[in-house]
């Protein structure tokens, strides 16, 4: 986004007030803060509009592929580090299917991919796309394989071929699905760009010789009329992947360089190097990663890492309030409460499990704040604990008549006893003291 002064220079400087701001400078400042629109100025020249619109474009272009309600959005990121605001579009993961397989084997693999899923804090984690590889080098076979995959899944599709002829056949057959074409390189880019332009599909541009060479190739592809571009560094090592990704992100969002302001694709391959590259790309700026294969034991931590990295740092992950049985509690087991901040919950849960003492764990809604923060903010009160106690139905489950309170907030014991009618037992101040505390009761 240009600064207010840069915008001001292109305005008519009439101070006519038709934009509803008293002066052109005031209007420019509002535009710079995204509070006003350029179109509100009736006197802006076409030329100025074009200049401003181009420089106001996001530093990393938003590129989409897929169709219907299965569209993958890549790019449009604004930060180097997640704590600065957040990362917006989670890295997409694709598994590949070879066109050297016969159609029934393709159908089987597609089904297997669709069935890999993990449930985690209310989200379903699964592969986002399927890549079809033109291993046969045959255009007709590639087209058939693409059609077979498209018939079997509604996931977005990546078509992988260096042959413009193959690409044209396959992408033409499934163009309604708006596949990602992977793609163009130094030798085929003219024809590949023509296919992408003809079918209005996003195009991956590959260049392993470094970022200067890649930027040149991107410029050529762009000049042939392709806007939706995705970068592939053909990185041979994690070092190359990390450094090139970091440079591209930084020059795009922190400097004014626009030549590489596109999402990044990583063709990770197979085995241990593939999962390591996938993990790295998830942390550092990768938009889509292709795996030839990925076992569930490796996919699961990868998906969880993505979920962790892409959470909004300003919104703590919360656990659903309510009652959770730990170590098979029964009617005589006591109730222990904590807050619904996920980190607090996981720590307390693991410490109760460690004690092997059966407990009804009551998770109170504190809007994701930890015990002391929630207490200070008035979100953890005798009333809120009692409300949760009533709503959870734990009083029917535990007849022990006891509730264990975090030691840090022991000062609300008296009022809690009044509010709940239960005997309040003061627990340890730190979660790490829970095993000893419970065992010694």
């Amino acid at each position: 986004m240009p600064t207010a002064i840069e915008i001001f220079k292109l305005l008519p400087k009439k101070n006519c007030g038709k934009c509803n701001y008293p002066t052109c400078l005031a209007f420019a400042m509002q535009i710079a803060n995204s509070k006003a629109k350029l179109q509100d100025c009736p006197f802006l020249s076409e030329e100025a509009l074009a200049v401003l619109a181009a420089s106001a474009a996001p530093p990393i272009r938003l590129v989409k592929f897929g169709s219907g309600n299965k569209v993958i959005e890549m790019g449009d990121e604004t930060e180097l580090y997640r704590h600065e605001k957040r990362f917006f579009h989670p890295t997409a993961y694709a598994l590949t299917v070879s066109d050297a397989l016969d159609d029934s084997a393709i159908a089987q693999k597609v089904e297997r991919i669709a069935n890999i899923k993990f449930e985690r804090v209310g989200q379903e984690l699964r592969f986002d796309a399927i890549a079809v590889k033109n291993d046969s080098s045959d255009a007709k076979r590639f087209k058939e394989a693409a059609e077979a995959v498209a018939a079997k899944t509604d996931l977005p599709i990546v078509l992988v071929s260096r042959s413009p002829e193959s690409m044209k056949a396959a992408a033409g057959a499934i163009s309604i699905r708006r596949p990602l074409l992977f793609g163009a390189n130094a030798t085929n880019h003219v024809q590949m760009a023509a296919v992408a332009k003809d079918l209005n599909c996003p195009l991956v541009v590959s260049e392993g010789k470094g970022l200067d060479a890649l930027a040149n190739l991107v410029q050529l592809v762009k000049s042939s009329g392709i806007e939706d571009i995705v970068l592939d560094f053909e990185a041979g090592s994690m070092k190359q992947l990390l450094e090139r990704s970091s440079i591209v992100r930084k020059v795009s969002v922190k400097k004014t360089f626009r030549g590489l302001g596109y999402p990044i694709l990583v063709d990770a391959g197979s085995g241990e190097p593939a999962i390591l590259k996938g993990l790295l790309a998830t942390m550092k700026y990768g938009s889509i990663v292709l795996f030839d294969e990925l076992s569930e034991a490796r996919a699961h931590p990868l998906f969880v890492l993505r979920q962790n990295i892409y959470t909004d740092p300003q919104v703590p992950i919360q656990v659903k309030p309510g009652v959770y049985p730990v170590n098979a509690p029964n009617e005589s087991s006591a109730v222990l409460f904590t807050t619904n901040f996920s980190l607090t919950y996981f720590t307390v849960l693991s410490d109760i499990e460690k004690s092997k003492v059966p407990i009804w764990l009551l998770v109170v809604d504190t809007e994701g704040l930890s015990v002391m923060t929630a207490f200070s903010a008035g979100k953890l009160t005798p009333e809120s604990v009692n409300a949760c106690l009533e709503a959870s139905g734990v009083k029917e489950k535990s007849k022990s008549g006891e509730i264990i309170i975090p030691g840090m907030v022991s000062r609300m014991s008296g009022k809690l006893a009044e509010a709940t009618g239960l005997k309040v037992i003061v627990g340890p101040k730190e979660s790490s003291g829970i095993p000893k505390f419970l065992k010694s009761r």
């Binding site: 994690m238 070092k239 931590p301 990295i309």
Partner: protein, 318 residues
């Protein structure tokens, strides 16, 4: 021709260096002393700064094993019953740079061994392996005070790294550390300001900055990893921008990955558990490295081998 500008930061600060272990030259019995820290740019970005000391891997050894997961037991076999054999396996078989011995047995909840017995264990490990040693207590202040006093004395010239000091309990451990020129781990709970505060407390108490390694708490994958990741990135950025009290190496303990339920249950067959849990720790460790870790304390040899290969790939040639 388009030329892509290289966005090299001009940082004003750099990370300090801490030496672990002492060789005969300095009166110790280690065959190697290891240096950690000294980075001048964000992790693994060779165009931005240098990383003269590659990150180190410390193999975890417990002196009481009531809770050791089955895949770890099977990787070490009988060795887990004896800290000396365990440490030897880490060094000889799995190439650990450092041994991290956790004296959990001194806790009344465990074997309730005496500080004297614990110090004897450290002595035997020091005799058995010649790499630098990290020593943790059981986390109970009164117990650890006595343990560390004894440990500090029996290894007086060995330049141990002793863990850990926190804002509510640091004086006795800092005193034990300073008495014989050991190094200390300053622990804080996922907060950049607390991380800075404990370093200030320690230096005010007299600990030299080149004897401090900080642990901002590495939460495992799925258990708050993102907090640790961002706190570490913020610590590193602040250090490079010139905050002297944050310019110390970072240590991350990834063994807690094995406590994540998702890593170790609901999978048929022991191989499934081993594979997933190994990658759980590997992922946690890789995130720690990318966020700035200088030393990793790891539980699984398989995970540590993968992480070592990843480090080589992150620092190798172009």
């Amino acid at each position: 021709m388009v030329e892509v500008p290289i966005p090299k930061e001009k940082w004003s600060g750099k990370i300090g260096e801490v030496t672990l272990g002492a060789t005969a030259e300095n009166g110790g019995t280690r065959t190697i002393a290891l240096r950690t820290g000294s980075e001048t740019g964000m992790p693994f970005l060779s165009y931005e700064g240098v990383m003269p000391n590659r990150p180190l891997i410390a193999g975890e050894v417990l002196d009481s094993i009531s809770e050791l997961p089955a895949p770890i037991r099977s990787e070490f076999g009988e060795a887990v019953n004896d800290p000396v054999a365990w440490a030897r396996a880490w060094v000889d078989k799995f190439g650990a740079d450092i041994i991290c011995i956790k004296l959990v047995s001194t806790s009344p909840d465990e074997a309730n061994r005496s500080p004297h017995e614990a110090a004897e264990t450290v002595k035997r490990v020091l005799e058995a392996v010649k790499v630098p040693i990290i020593v943790y207590g059981c986390g109970i202040e009164e117990r650890d005070a006595k343990t560390f006093e004894l440990v500090s004395n029996i290894a007086s010239k060995e330049r141990l790294l002793i863990g850990h000091a926190e804002d509510t309990a640091y004086k006795s451990i800092a005193a034990a550390t300073m008495a014989n020129h050991h190094a200390i781990i300053s622990f804080s709970n996922l907060d950049i300001n607390l991380a800075k505060q404990i370093n200030i407390l320690l230096t005010d108490f007299g600990v030299k900055k080149d004897a401090i390694v900080m642990d901002p708490l590495m939460a495992a994958l799925g258990m708050g990893l993102e907090y640790s990741y961002s706190v570490m990135e913020r610590i590193r950025l602040a250090a490079f921008m010139g905050d002297g009290m944050l310019q110390v190496p970072l240590i991350c303990d990834t063994s807690a990955s094995w406590k994540a339920k998702e890593a170790t249950e609901d999978i048929p067959g022991p191989d499934g558990i081993a594979e997933r849990a190994t990658w759980w720790e590997t992922t946690t460790a890789l995130a720690a490295l990318i966020a700035g870790a200088d030393i990793l304390i790891m539980r699984s040899p398989r995970a540590s081998a993968i992480v070592r290969r990843a480090m080589e790939d992150l620092t190798g040639g172009d």
